[in-house]
């Protein structure tokens, strides 16, 4: 099958799991050695070489491995995770998907994938909502039972976050 079609399907499937709060199933979409990072972004002068400026190489909003993601998911399952219980209404709008050429590596077939994300969040019974915008730079790996997320770098289009916490995944 065309890898682009397969990747699109897995990205939409992933968004569906995150929007429906099926975090345990989402966790199963990640590899054992997954690295999931959301760096702090700062307003900096335009880099002469172009590209994104101000992406901190040292500080993050989230810097996770499989164990810490597992901890965050287990927390949401306790029934006492007030930040997401009642849950936020989330919608992951995934667009501008760019799929690289699949590469054979020592770990298997891997492909770099970039996508744009617009995340809608509303909470409580109030009419206000939050939008978070970002580019996601992923590495997906083909395992026996399908594509798995091995790496994600979320480049936020925000310096100061317009929301009171990041109690969900991007």
């Amino acid at each position: 099958m065309d890898p682009t079609r397969e990747i699109l399907e897995v990205l939409y499937r992933e968004a569906e799991l995150l929007d429906e709060g099926r975090y345990r199933e989402w966790l199963a979409l990640t590899t054992e050695d997954v690295v999931y990072q959301v760096p702090v972004r700062l307003t900096r002068e335009r880099p002469p070489e172009g590209g994104y400026g101000g992406v901190s190489p040292s500080m993050y909003h989230l810097d996770e491995d499989r164990t810490s993601l597992e901890m965050r998911v287990a927390r949401l399952e306790t029934g006492f995770a007030w930040a997401e219980d009642p849950p936020s209404r989330l919608r992951h709008f995934v667009s501008n998907v760019r799929v690289g050429l699949p590469q054979e590596t020592a770990r298997g077939t891997e492909v770099e994938v970039r996508s744009n994300l617009l995340l809608f969040r509303s909470r409580w019974d109030r009419p206000e909502f939050t939008l978070l915008s970002a580019e996601r730079r992923d590495l997906w790996r083909r395992q026996e039972d399908g594509w798995r997320l091995a790496r994600r770098l979320v480049i936020l289009d925000h310096s100061t976050l317009p929301t009171h916490n990041l109690s969900f995944f991007l």
Partner: protein
């Protein structure tokens, strides 16, 4: 700002403040002080325009030309290290027409050139270039009179840089008083001191700055319920009385407060927050006094809040729930007021400069996974603070008085070796009552 000259000086004291003054010693605090435009207007002039406000850490700008952008209220300052090695805080406002001369949050620059008309300032604030100076401004124009405005006061303690808008404010040392002893429990653990783990996280929370601060100055009591999810995961202790152990200390007349928590009786926790042996040995030799070492070696959780809006939190922790050994974390934060019932949290991860590299990496994870924007503890705090502030601003809610009576009958600890007034238990609101005494002194004085 001199007394009586402020815009609020002539106005009647807001009702919520009158109620606070009447009820505080009984432990009654009006909800109205937490989300009220009039109270916030008073706070801006009477608290934030004349208090020492944390701007940043020297390690954020180690080299000449390094700068970061920081705020006191809505005043933007370039916190910059000059070519002479001195740190300055310069108002980010061109003297010509008020444009920002620095719009990046961090960087390195020898000069700041205003994008409006091109006035150019050296990184010590001196105006050095004015386009068409002679033709446009003539002979009598004196550049030396038009440098960037330095903050009225800037002082440093152990690498921590504080600014003050009031030129007549007491010295930082006098402001801190006995709190310095507690600050040194983290700043003097090694001769090298602390460094930032990176730039701060910044995020906006619809709550009052005092509500956030409460949690860090006195509230061990909330751990059991707010952070119940982490208890379920075995990360926070299940013992309902856990948070009552330890000492709560306040500095009378200053508003500062600390919590120093050891291991509960029978708990098998390593000494000195669980820091590696080499760091513990360094600390023993490095602390200014023997008493600080004696206190530190028994400490597992430590919080300090400096009046009005700086807090630090230094608990024994692990990088995740399965990690086998403790790797404590340290965070500095400013509860930056944006408006009534609205703050920006500015949250830094900190570590000892001479800690081993593996430790710095793990300490960063210990911080990120529990505190800050995505922290599994702090995300529940911000949820709860948001609702309390909303309720405090409601028509009926604002008439209520909150209960700040916990621990009113607890006798002081006469044997505590540190400065200030200590209570041998953390189930008390005494640090908060002391905080609000100082708050009232400034608001009404």
């Amino acid at each position: 700002m001199a007394k009586g000259k402020t815009a609020t000086g002539a106005k009647e004291v807001p009702r919520a403040l009158q109620e606070l003054a009447q009820g505080l010693e009984e432990g009654l605090v009006p909800a109205g002080i937490l989300n009220d435009p009039e109270v916030f207007a008073w706070e801006q002039e009477r608290i934030f325009a004349r208090s020492w406000i944390y701007l940043g850490h020297a390690s954020e700008i180690p080299s000449p030309g390094d700068y970061v952008l920081r705020y006191i209220l809505n005043n933007a300052f370039i916190l910059v290290r000059g070519e002479d090695g001195r740190v300055r805080a310069l108002l980010d406002m061109c003297r010509h027409r008020g444009m920002r001369v620095c719009r990046a949050e961090a960087g390195n620059a020898s000069h700041f050139r205003c994008p409006f008309h091109g006035w150019t300032y050296r990184n010590d604030g001196t105006l050095v270039g004015v386009p068409a100076e002679r033709e446009a401004f003539g002979e009598g124009f004196r550049k030396e009179e038009w440098g960037l405005l330095p903050i009225p006061r800037l002082e440093e303690v152990d690498g921590l840089l504080f600014g003050n808008l009031d030129p007549e404010a007491p010295s930082l040392e006098e402001w801190l008083g006995g709190a310095k002893w507690y600050l040194e429990l983290v700043t003097k653990r090694s001769p090298e001191g602390l460094e930032v783990l990176g730039p701060p996280q910044r995020f906006v929370v619809p709550t009052d700055w005092k509500l956030a601060l409460e949690t860090f100055i006195s509230d061990s009591y909330h751990t059991l319920m707010t952070h119940r999810s982490m208890i379920e995961l075995g990360i926070a202790p299940r013992d309902a009385k856990y948070a009552m152990y330890g000492e709560q200390i306040h500095i009378p007349g200053k508003g500062h407060g600390a919590m120093v928590v050891g291991g509960p009786p029978g708990a098998k926790l390593p000494p000195f927050w669980g820091y590696p042996a080499e760091m513990m040995e360094r600390a023993q030799a490095s602390y200014p006094t023997r008493e600080q070492w004696e206190v530190a070696k028994e400490t597992r959780i430590f919080l300090l809040t400096l009046f009005p809006n700086f807090s630090l939190h230094n608990p024994i922790r692990k990088p995740d729930h399965l990690y086998p050994t403790p790797v404590p974390m340290l965070t500095f934060r400013v509860w930056h007021p944006l408006g009534p019932g609205r703050i920006e949290v500015i949250s830094w991860g900190m570590v000892e400069k001479d800690a081993p590299e593996w430790f710095k990496e793990k300490a960063r994870h210990s911080y990120l996974r529990f505190f800050g924007s995505s922290g599994t503890f702090e995300q529940d705090d911000t949820e709860i603070w948001s609702h309390v502030a909303q309720n405090a601003g409601s028509t009926l809610g604002r008439r209520l008085r909150f209960n700040y009576q916990m621990g009113r009958n607890v006798p002081q600890d006469p044997n505590w070796p540190g400065p200030g007034v200590a209570y041998p238990i953390n189930f008390t609101d005494e640090n908060l009552r002391n905080f609000y005494r100082r708050y009232l002194e400034l608001m009404l004085g």
